[in-house]
């Protein structure tokens, strides 16, 4: 099968398209405004702008924020819960935390309100023994009651279902027999892992999202098919892998960080290809700055995240640290005379003051406009004809300049310094927290605004170079095309190593492998290779936090050669010593969970096909004054995409393209590498 692969990333403001022709390796990109509330309009319009005939497409991969938005805006379905007697409030009680350490304010409502959380007699104990068999008539009555209340989805949440799913499985079978749609989630199917709040929360959020997300994906699929598309339609998961669309309809909670994850995958690939396997990515959007770390070409996965207070999703996801400092973040001066950025944001609508759409409080983008860093005559995205510089100046004067006794340019510089300092703090945090020195990393800005701040990040954090991808505004869409197919599994084992049932462990590993391979077999896309990895969460008895212990396991014709007890002990000792630098003489080793991942490696494309083909030295298209430090300097403006490979441009300079502005500050230079990336480094002869 050959043809064209297309990646579509729907973000808050723009829908980005990346098209790869598999036959000749050429690529093209596009961008259209995101449509709301139904994102499928922008999705289809964006595709239509790039491809005339959908039957030419072999693969469509979609990164989506539909799940995240539905959670943040509480726009999921009316959903119910059927749970163990005595436990209806687990979702609402959380882990007994609070929204903020100081102040004691704020309350919390779970996505399933109390009147839709019903209890049934049943109980499984921690050792898996069944103390009370499930009362299936009570389950039926509860499900009917929820249907009468208008619930579109339901989740079954039973205590200790990770240890023995029998009661829960019987209940879910009973409900599925008459529930009028497929939106029935069971906690042992979503996450067979110990910790009831995390498992219940993930499962309930899955049910809450299911009608919305599966409806959206079904609409898209139907539209694609009616346009003649006959290839594979896949969705990016939070773990950076893709899954088939029907898997996504069953497990919509796995899309919670779909779009951002795809961006990190692409950034990692671009950076590694360009010779920088250690990179920190910074995605600057309208409301936030998202930072992620890639070490040795590998992304870091975190086991869980909170979408909002009390909304915990426990599925493996690419670790992305978000701070509220985006282009639309509002700057303001507090009572103590301190300049603050965000957390309030003007987003993309009304957006910065310079958009002229009704916001009159200054944003980070307004500071960039006032300082001449963004061209007011060709704003990105094409929605506006011209930016209103004068309005941005007035807003900065009124809200920042006057309270702090600064002139307009000083006030705009102050806004950028504080925003940059917060962004740099996020970069330092993600690296230092994991024991890495950020100075050893390259910085890769993507998203529309990041490349304006690359020089500042280098200076603030002490990073030696930044690498701006050729198409930073469509990185997530490119990641859709690059990402591997991947499925993660977890199973709580909870045993001392001395009591390990090797055969039972082998059965779980085999089961995970078989299910994952079936998924790969069912896919209609090509894989270069298949990979299965296993990891145990282990600790000494008495210790609460587990360490991840990778197991070396061989697979012969799909059959798992399961590890022995001795293999497990050796692997644990290596991993534990690596983290803590010592072992405990009398410690008893314990296994908590098995984690498996089945990956189908998709073919990668040659990034050099994106490189510019020209060789003629390009002159600046014009010169305009740009403010640096305390002065206006005449600054050369270049059309970025036409600069040939090998070009070196000394700052101050600005490189412009459709959706991105790259700022090269005085003292830095920008070099076009063999893939069309711009490498920003200290200019030769300067430090």
């Amino acid at each position: 099968m050959s043809g064209r692969m297309i990646g579509v990333d729907v973000g808050g403001t723009f829908t980005d398209i990346f098209v790869l022709n598999e036959d000749d390796g050429t690529a093209s990109v596009g961008k259209v405004p995101t449509t709301r509330p139904d994102q499928s309009g922008g999705f289809l319009a964006g595709m239509a702008a790039q491809v005339d005939d959908l039957s030419q497409l072999s693969v469509v991969v979609h990164g989506t924020t539909a799940g995240t938005n539905a959670l943040l805006e509480r726009k999921g379905a009316k959903a119910g819960v059927i749970t163990t007697q005595g436990l209806r409030d687990v979702l609402e009680m959380r882990r007994r935390d609070r929204p903020r350490t100081w102040g004691l304010r704020g309350d919390f409502e779970p996505v399933v309100p109390r009147e839709l959380r019903l209890e049934v007699p049943e109980r499984t104990l921690a050792d898996g023994s069944i103390r009370t068999a499930v009362d299936l008539q009570a389950v039926r009555d509860a499900a009917h009651a929820l249907l009468e209340q208008g619930c579109e989805a339901v989740s079954i949440l039973f205590a200790n279902a990770y240890a023995n799913p029998e009661n829960e499985a019987a209940a879910v079978e009973t409900v599925r027999a008459f529930w009028p749609n497929p939106h029935v989630s069971a906690s042992h199917e979503i996450l067979p892992e110990i910790r009831e709040f995390e498992r219940f929360s993930t499962t309930a959020l899955n049910a809450y999202l299911q009608p919305e997300i599966s409806g959206y994906l079904d609409r898209l699929q139907a539209a694609l098919q009616s346009g003649g598309f006959d290839g594979e339609f896949m969705i990016v998961q939070s773990n950076g892998g893709v899954m088939a669309v029907d898997t996504a309809c069953r497990f919509p909670v796995r899309t919670a960080l779909s779009g951002p994850a795809a961006g990190v995958i692409a950034a990692g690939y671009i950076a590694q290809t360009a010779g920088f396997p250690d990179v920190i990515t910074g995605d600057m959007g309208g409301t936030s700055f998202d930072v992620s770390l890639i070490s040795g070409g590998k992304t870091v996965l975190s086991p869980e995240t909170s979408i909002d207070f009390g909304m915990v999703v426990r599925t493996p996801m690419i670790e992305i640290t978000t701070i509220g400092a985006g282009g639309g973040s509002i700057s303001w001066v507090d009572k103590g005379g301190l300049l603050n950025i965000g957390p309030e944001s003007a987003g993309s609508d009304p957006g910065p003051v310079a958009y002229g759409l009704g916001n009159d409080r200054p944003t980070v983008t307004d500071a960039n406009v006032v300082l001449g860093r963004i061209d007011p005559d060709s704003p990105i995205g094409g929605k506006l004809k011209r930016l209103d510089v004068e309005a941005a100046r007035i807003a900065i004067d009124t809200h920042v300049g006057q309270p702090l006794d600064l002139d307009t340019e000083q006030a705009a510089e102050a806004i950028l310094r504080v925003a940059n300092s917060r962004m740099a703090g996020a970069i330092r945090l993600v690296s230092i927290e994991r024991g890495f020195d950020p100075k050893q990393f390259a910085f890769m800005p993507f998203g529309g605004g990041g490349a304006l701040h690359a020089g500042a990040m280098m200076a603030e954090v002490g990073i030696a170079r930044a690498i701006v991808p050729r198409y930073p505004g469509v990185t997530s869409a490119m990641g859709c095309v690059i990402a591997d197919m991947r499925q993660d599994f977890v199973q709580t084992i909870n045993t001392l190593v001395d009591h390990l049932d090797e055969a039972a462990l082998a059965r779980f590993m085999q089961d995970h492998t078989d299910t994952g391979m079936e998924m790969l077999d069912a896919a209609r896309t090509r894989f270069q290779a298949r990979e299965v990895t296993f990891e145990l969460d282990m600790a000494y008895v008495g210790q609460t936090h587990t360490v991840p212990v990778p197991l070396t396991v061989s697979l012969t014709e799909g059959k798992v050669q399961a590890p022995t007890r001795a293999d497990v002990i050796a692997a644990f000792d290596t991993a534990y010593h690596g983290i803590y630098g010592r072992l405990l003489d009398k410690g008893m080793r314990r296994i908590l969970n098995l984690r498996s991942a089945v990956t189908g490696k998709r073919p990668k494309f040659d990034l050099s096909t994106l490189a510019p083909s020209g060789t003629v030295r390009i002159a600046p298209k014009n010169v305009r004054p740009v403010h640096f430090g305390s002065e206006w300097r005449d600054t050369a403006i270049y059309d970025r995409l036409s600069l040939p490979v090998g070009t070196v441009i000394k700052g101050p300079a600005i490189l412009e393209q459709l959706d991105t502005t790259v700022l090269i500050e005085p003292g830095l230079s920008g070099r076009v590498d063999a893939y069309g990336n711009t490498i920003i480094e200290p200019a030769e002869g300067e430090v």
Binding site: G86, L87, R88, D89, V90, E92, M93, R94, R95, R96, D97, R98, T101, W102, G103, L104, R105, G106, D107, F108, P113, R114, E115, R123, L125, A126, R131, A159, N160, Y162, A163, I194, R195, E196, F197, E198, K335, G336, R417, V418, S421, A424, G425, R428, L429, I432, E433, E460, N494, Y540, G542, Q543, T544, H545, I579, Y580, R582, L584, K586, G587
Partner: protein, 565 residues
């Protein structure tokens, strides 16, 4: 020394030093064996002034009460080192003596002088709540203790390490005096690891910026905190307001103990005077003076949440604690139940402050830590101790209803998952639920407390110990809000369900297999008068079963019945 520092460098250095303390927290949380540290984060790390011991920087995840109390612990080490005259690079002091270092004997404090290029620059410290430190009751919440020796072994500040050389003798003594030596060893190693990391990170920071700049930043951070506090106080009206509340009893005799405060604001200064508070008592609800001062800080930081976490905040505040009161008890008075006393101090400070500025204050939270331990022996003779704190409702505020099932204002601790407890101990939770009708009435009602009913599964049975409060005096509302429900503890015996004679405290309750204990925790107080509550919100609470129809009628009148659902 206080040379000027530009605001951006200050912001960068403040962030860097907070990160160091945060990283020390994270190191211990990962390494600790005991869930009270690893899950509940009952620990703290920070940087402290080389001469005064003042808190300079504290990690964000640590327990709020430690922000203030650790400066006393560090000061105790500074005084001891001055007296002994033998402070050296690589020394580490260890102690749990609560009369010197505040809080209670479960908190093991490690204090390490930090030298840069041969000069003392500051102190680093690590404190963590160990699972067991000897004494009469496993887990050390002994409601019947009449002196410190019945609570735990008492270790004064001694050198665990001399010039980098760890003393195995000290470790051997410690591990012989706990019921859970492996847990203690794991926690100790975690705390040592956190201190090592702090030293490494400080070395990096000082080699990058130099001692002058970092010192200037530390001075500026303290000064800025002081200035912000003064600005907050200036914005409040001048005046003097007082409040009174009570502890149920001291665990020995059933007499209520008043906790009183008068709060005075005059210009940019505040005086908190606890005159009128009960004298030192026989049981363990006494606290040491350092604990009292640190508690005032916690209350202030909740009222002004944007203030930074350093000692500068307290410069304009005068805390007066009457001598001989239970707020300044001397060794060897028992102090194991200090949490209950300081929660009540916070409640009275809130109640007094609400009279000055109701919109700044939340109503009283549930006001008890409810330390419940259930212990026994398994069939093979191995001992087990399930020890945990339980949650309750938060108070209503000008913004919203109170949070249901929150953690205590002195803590950021989360509760271990029920399934983790059931997997680790022979118990089953029959109920883990919200407690309807427990939130105080108000325009914004208090949050709901919880009901936990725990059955013993072990053939040998078990013993239960409870250290709680709010069994006789309910959490107060503010600005006209009503009170939350009181704490109710019950236990099952052959002749039915019983309640403890001292209502909220009891030790040695014998339970057979199949018998249970039930803890119904208090809700929070309400904010504002009940008649101001939106009838739609009342109707919603009734539909959710959080407020019963009868109680809704009694508290709010019948208007809610007219609301269309």
């Amino acid at each position: 020394m206080s040379r000027d520092i530009d605001p951006i460098t200050l912001a960068v250095l403040a962030g860097r030093m907070e990160q160091i303390a945060d990283e020390m927290d994270a190191t211990l949380f990962r390494a600790a064996f005991n869930p009270i540290i690893a899950e509940a984060h009952d620990a703290s790390h920070g940087l402290y002034h080389a001469a005064s011991g003042d808190t300079l920087v504290q990690g964000k995840s640590g327990l709020p009460i430690f922000v203030g109390v650790m400066s006393f612990a560090v000061k105790a080490v500074i005084d001891k080192a001055a007296a002994d005259g033998d402070l050296a690079d690589g020394d580490i002091y260890i102690f749990n003596d609560a009369h010197i270092g505040g809080t209670h004997l479960s908190d093991m404090r490690l204090v390490r002088p930090y030298f840069y290029k041969g000069e003392l620059f500051c102190y680093l410290a690590s404190v963590g709540h160990w699972h067991d430190v000897g004494g009469a009751v496993p887990g050390n919440y002994n409601p019947a203790a009449t002196d410190a020796f019945q609570e735990a072994f008492v270790l004064p500040p001694v050198k665990l390490a001399r010039a980098g050389q760890i003393s195995q003798d000290i470790i051997d003594i410690l591990l012989r005096n706990t019921r859970l030596p492996q847990s203690a060893e794991g926690d100790l190693n975690g705390q040592l690891g956190a201190l090592d990391l702090g030293v490494k990170r400080m070395d990096e920071l000082l080699s990058e910026y130099g001692t002058d700049t970092v010192s200037a930043a530390l001075d500026a951070m303290g000064n800025r905190a002081e200035a912000l506090m003064r600005a907050e106080l200036t914005a409040l009206p001048d005046g003097r307001w007082s409040a009174e509340d009570f502890l149920d009893n001291d665990g020995i005799s059933d007499a209520a103990l008043p906790i009183c405060v008068s709060l005075e604001i005059k210009g940019d200064r505040m005086v908190l005077d606890f005159e009128g508070t009960a004298p030192r008592c026989a049981g363990p609800v006494n606290i040491a003076l350092p604990t009292a001062v640190a508690t005032a800080y916690v209350a202030i930081k909740h009222i002004f949440p944007s203030l930074p976490a350093n000692a500068g905040v307290m410069r304009p505040v005068d805390v007066k604690v009457p001598e001989g009161s239970l707020l300044s008890a001397e060794f060897p008075a028992p102090v194991g139940g200090y949490t209950e006393t300081i929660l009540r101090m916070i409640d009275v400070i809130f109640s007094a402050a609400s009279q000055a500025a109701p919109e700044r204050v939340v109503a009283n939270a549930y006001g008890t830590i409810n330390a419940l331990s259930i212990a026994g022996k398994r069939a093979n003779g191995a001992p087990w101790v399930m020890f945990s704190f339980y949650g309750g409702g938060h108070g209503g505020s000008v913004e919203s209803d109170g949070l249901n099932h929150g953690n205590a204002p002195i803590s950021t601790a989360t509760i271990p998952p029920m399934e983790i407890l059931e997997a680790a101990y022979p118990v089953m939770f029959r109920q883990w639920a919200l407690r309807p009708d427990s939130g105080g009435a108000g325009a914004h009602r208090g949050g709901m407390g919880a009901v936990y009913e725990i059955e013993v599964l072990e053939e040998n049975g078990a013993e239960a110990f409870l250290f709680g409060e709010r069994g006789r005096f309910a959490p107060q509302g503010v600005a006209g809000g009503g009170t939350g429900a009181m704490n109710v503890f019950s236990y099952e015996q052959d002749n039915g369900w019983l309640n403890p004679p001292l209502i909220s405290k009891m030790r040695g309750i014998k339970l057979r297999q199949g018998q249970a204990v039930r803890l119904e925790t208090p809700g929070g107080g309400g904010y504002g008068v009940a008649s101001d509550r939106d009838p739609a919100a009342i109707a919603r609470d009734v539909a959710r079963g959080l407020v019963s129809p009868d109680r809704a009628d009694t508290l709010y009148g019948p208007a809610w019945q007219e609301v269309d659902q």
